[in-house]
């Protein structure tokens, strides 16, 4: 078994891993190793050939591969070492990684710090329990995207889409461009799960109908999908009898959500947040295991890659600081999801960092609302209030705490984020 020593080992070379590795190197870490199971860097960005990436970070609209390339180039220049086609089998709490590939066989990688950046996977038919037969032609949007954009094959000609996640919306447009017929997008919730800009640019612009409060109640077909039955649902998300409609099609495309891929984290016994499905992290993006960091969709599913990059740079810096013995010590403040908020990341904030630098908190609201304020309070004291014209569960909200905006002594309290209607007091 070959043994490798490095300062920082980054697991996964999608946007999160790329940003973390590059930043760790830039922040002074010595040997940085970026490991990916795929044959190229960039992760899922490589199959995202649509544009819209980087608008916030670079002020230009890049495609996925273009966005990835900026970081690939940065990593190359910085001297990040890359291991491709390499699968990490195990992350041990002592920061040893077992990984393997064809050329070198089994590797035992001893790292000063580890950054977990494995991303997420798609929820599938089993996870949402769609009754019916089990024919070919039920496919997740991401798998379809890979087939169409990277392999050059069409998984279907006549498509029904369940779920209004961003990849599904993007694929509705992509399929239409390819001459396939998209019957419509059926979303069980009363609101979409994708970004507004995707709803407009991918559905409205192509007259693809969006059916809210609808779901697929049966899949038909023995060998290949022949039709699906859709139905309207009530407030409890239960199908309403009598509203069923059978739609002939050869493909059911699923865009029903993403799950952070935390098998390695779980095996290492890293504490996970049941709401996000990802590790509980500090503002350094450090998990419950010292020296093991996490960033990107493995922590919580992002809708914009720009935010992944920002968060991952923190992880890279955190890892570099750790190996250089410059980690902040001192007391920490826990964050908490208050009224109307589903979750807040990070989960722990170092008071030392809060005093010195701007801290960004990411959160998702529980339901859509207009004209609200996002309020941060510490020990019942309001420390920040930001107006938002519209908030939606599909669009992550970020709240920036300026340096020194918290009372000096808030040890033992927690920071709560809440959604407050304009004119009301939290």
């Amino acid at each position: 078994m070959r043994k490798i020593q490095c300062d920082v080992a980054v697991v996964g070379a999608g946007p999160a891993g790329l940003a973390a590795a590059g930043r760790a190197k830039a922040a002074g870490a010595g040997r940085v190793l970026l490991i990916d199971r795929d044959r190229e860097l960039g992760g899922i960005l490589q199959q995202c050939i649509h544009n819209g990436f980087g608008l916030h970070l670079f002020g230009e609209e890049l495609t996925g591969p273009e966005y990835a390339h900026k970081f690939i180039a940065e990593n190359q220049e910085a001297g990040v070492e890359v291991l491709l086609n390499t699968m990490v089998l195990q992350v041990r709490p002592d920061r040893h990684l077992y990984a393997m590939n064809r050329r070198e066989g089994m590797l035992d990688i001893a790292a000063g710090a580890v950054v977990l950046a494995m991303g997420c996977r798609e929820r599938n038919r089993g996870a949402v329990t769609i009754p019916g037969t089990r024919p070919a032609g039920v496919i997740t949007a991401g798998t379809a995207q890979r087939f169409v954009n990277m392999e050059g094959f069409m998984p279907g000609r006549h498509i029904v889409i369940l779920g209004s996640g961003d990849i599904g919306l993007i694929m509705a447009r992509r399929f239409t461009w390819e001459g396939a017929k998209v019957e419509g997008v059926f979303e069980i919730m009363p609101y979409t799960n994708g970004l507004t800009r995707n709803v407009v640019q991918c559905l409205h612009d192509y007259d693809i109908p969006l059916h809210l409060n609808h779901t697929v109640v049966e899949i038909h077909g023995r060998e290949r999908v022949e039709a699906v039955t859709v139905a309207k649902v009530d407030e409890k998300l239960q199908p309403i009898p009598g509203t069923e409609r059978r739609i002939p099609c050869d493909t059911l495309l699923l865009s029903v959500g993403l799950i952070p891929e935390n098998e390695l984290s779980r095996d290492a016994r890293i504490e996970l947040d049941p709401v996000t499905g990802g590790p509980v992290v500090s503002d350094e993006m450090e998990t419950s295991l010292p020296g093991i960091f996490a960033c990107g969709n493995v922590v919580h599913v992002h809708d914009l890659v720009d935010n992944v990059t920002r968060e991952s740079r923190l992880a890279g810096e955190g890892a570099a600081r750790l190996v250089q013995g410059r980690q902040p010590g001192g007391p920490v403040l826990a964050t908490r999801a208050g009224e109307g908020v589903r979750y807040v990341v990070p989960h722990r904030l170092h008071l030392a960092n809060l005093a010195e630098r701007e801290t960004t908190l990411y959160m998702r609201v529980r339901e859509p609302a207009e004209h609200v304020r996002i309020e941060a309070s510490v020990g019942g004291e309001r420390v920040l209030s930001v107006r938002e014209r519209v908030v939606r569960p599909a669009e992550m909200v970020s709240v920036k705490l300026p340096p020194g905006s918290l009372p000096a002594d808030c040890t033992g309290t927690e920071l709560t984020l809440s959604v407050v209607k304009e004119g009301e007091r939290a």
């Binding site: 078994m1 089994m106 019916g132 798998t143 087939f147 094959f153 000609r157 390819e178 001459g179 290949r224």
Partner: protein
């Protein structure tokens, strides 16, 4: 149409048909096994609870009772020879109410009559100590230490591989369309591509065995399919049940149980619904709800959010007997039925095979032992089960072990390539899945589908859009990119 000669044609390559094929492979015989699907193990064998029953359930005197206990006894040896994972976990029939306890004693008594060893009734404390996730209101249970769990399709594939390696000829995608008779004897079995002249026919056609019997004029039994629906949970949760946990059975079913699988998943089901349509493999909202409700009664903390798949299976119930239909068809002495093999059919398969062998011998088939018969079959080595050192050695030997294809189940390229080139042809995505577990994990093939399909295309000399999920018209991909646009353009110009 190609002409073949056989001593015995076996129709149906499920667990029963392949057990018979392997049994007959021990003798100097020409045996042909015909199957209508693209792979073995595609009927009831594919979708069942995969439990090796102890044998207390069937009524004394029935075939089910006799063959269950006999089959159970030889399971360890067969699974050892064929390297099929089998765990003798024991099983528990759990009384959740005080008034169910007398039923446990009935089952205990029935088990004694059937010859089931070492049955015992255990009380609540012992029960909850062994099964901490069980409903804490459980009262008592019947403990049957000889029960176990197996992988039904792996057993079937193993039996088929071993049979083929010992000379049995396997014909896939060959539905039997006609059986020709001469007087009271069957002479020729016809499929779309083959006419097989034969001395004997064994009917192991599962839920279609009544239709096969009708081809030779036998009308005295019919098969009604009984559907059962299931949920499978993530492999993280198999430990929640130490062994199959049955409720107290009803007249039609052993009830909805909670069981670990040999691979470590947690499985719940099946319900029981009698149908007319033998192809109705739909899961239904009502059926799935029934399964969940009753399983939650057994295990209140089921990991509902971590269900990874649901599916339905059909048991082949023979009417009017409700028992296995074994032996020659009335008036056709060289046509032997192995029909109506519903639960405990998996457990009974080895014993059914011996019965059928004896019937064939009684009907005039000479059984001369084959000197070169090899009872052993080598398993496809599952990379994920090895130690890091063993894994390192394998990669050093064959770099394709260094390439993970299915990340959820840690399946390597080497395993997939090997699965495609074993004695039983494997030509479908589902076939690869059943042999290697690629695509069986929590992402349910989302990530590995393009990769497995690419390896299949390369190894089998196919184009990517010729790869199917399960044969027939189940292609994964329906066109190349730009193809639909070009077709539209051509239309517009026409």
């Amino acid at each position: 149409m190609e002409k073949l000669q056989a001593d015995v044609v076996i129709i149906g390559a499920g667990v029963t048909g392949t057990a018979i094929a392997r049994e007959l492979a021990r003798y100097e015989l020409e045996v042909v096994l015909v199957e209508k699907e693209a792979d073995v193990a595609c009927g009831s064998t594919k979708a069942n609870t995969a439990i090796v029953h102890a044998g207390y359930d069937a009524h004394p005197g029935t075939w089910k009772a006799k063959l269950n206990v006999r089959g159970n006894a030889v399971f360890p040896q067969i699974c050892r020879e064929l390297e099929v994972p089998f765990k003798r976990t024991g099983s528990l029939v759990v009384a959740l109410e005080e008034d169910q306890v007398p039923h446990l004693y009935e089952l205990l008594e029935r088990g004694h009559v059937n010859g089931v060893p070492d049955l015992e009734i255990i009380g609540r404390d012992e029960l909850l100590r062994r099964e901490p996730h069980l409903n804490p209101h459980a009262v008592a249970a019947l403990w049957a230490p000889t029960a176990g769990i197996v992988n039904a399709w792996e057993l079937t594939i193993a039996q088929a591989e071993n049979a083929v390696e010992n000379g049995v000829k396997l014909l896939l995608e060959q539905p039997v369309i006609r059986i020709e008779r001469e007087g009271d004897r069957v002479r020729t079995v016809c499929t779309p591509d083959f006419a097989i002249a034969t001395r004997f026919v064994v009917n192991a056609a599962g839920r279609h065995s009544d239709e096969i019997a009708r081809l030779v004029g036998q009308e005295d039994f019919r098969i009604t399919p009984r559907k059962g629906e299931y949920y499978v949970f993530d492999r993280r949760f198999g430990h929640m049940a130490g062994c199959p946990l049955f409720p107290v059975p009803t007249a039609v079913s052993k009830g909805i149980l909670v069981t670990p699988t040999v691979e470590g998943n947690l499985l719940i089901g099946p319900n029981a619904q009698d149908l007319e349509d033998k192809e109705d493999l739909r899961t239904t909202p009502a059926g799935l709800k029934e399964v969940l409700t009753e399983a939650l009664d057994m295990m209140p903390d089921l990991p509902l959010k971590d269900a990874i798949a649901n599916f339905a299976g059909l048991r082949a119930v023979a009417r009017p007997s409700n028992d296995f239909v074994l032996g020659p068809a009335s008036g056709v002495p060289n046509f032997i039925n192995a029909a109506g093999i519903q639960s405990p059919g998996l457990t009974s398969a080895p014993a059914v095979a011996e019965e059928i062998r004896d019937y064939l011998q009684a009907a005039g088939l000479e059984l001369n032992g084959k000197k070169k018969f090899n009872p052993y079959r080598k398993r496809l080595v599952p990379f994920r089960e090895l130690s890091r050192e063993e894994q390192a050695e394998l990669i050093a030997e064959d770099p394709r072990y260094g390439q993970i294809v299915c990340r959820c189940e840690t399946v390597t390229e080497a395993e997939i390539v090997q699965a495609l080139h074993r004695p039983v042809p494997c030509t479908t995505m589902d076939g690869v899945k059943r042999r290697t577990r690629a695509g069986m994990g929590r992402c349910q093939a989302g990530f590995c589908t393009p990769r497995v399909a690419a390896i299949m295309a390369r190894e089998l000399g196919l184009s990517l859009d010729e790869v199917t999920k399960k044969g027939g018209a189940s292609q994964l991909l329906l066109a190349r990119t730009k193809e639909l646009l070009l077709a539209k353009g051509a239309e517009a110009h026409a």
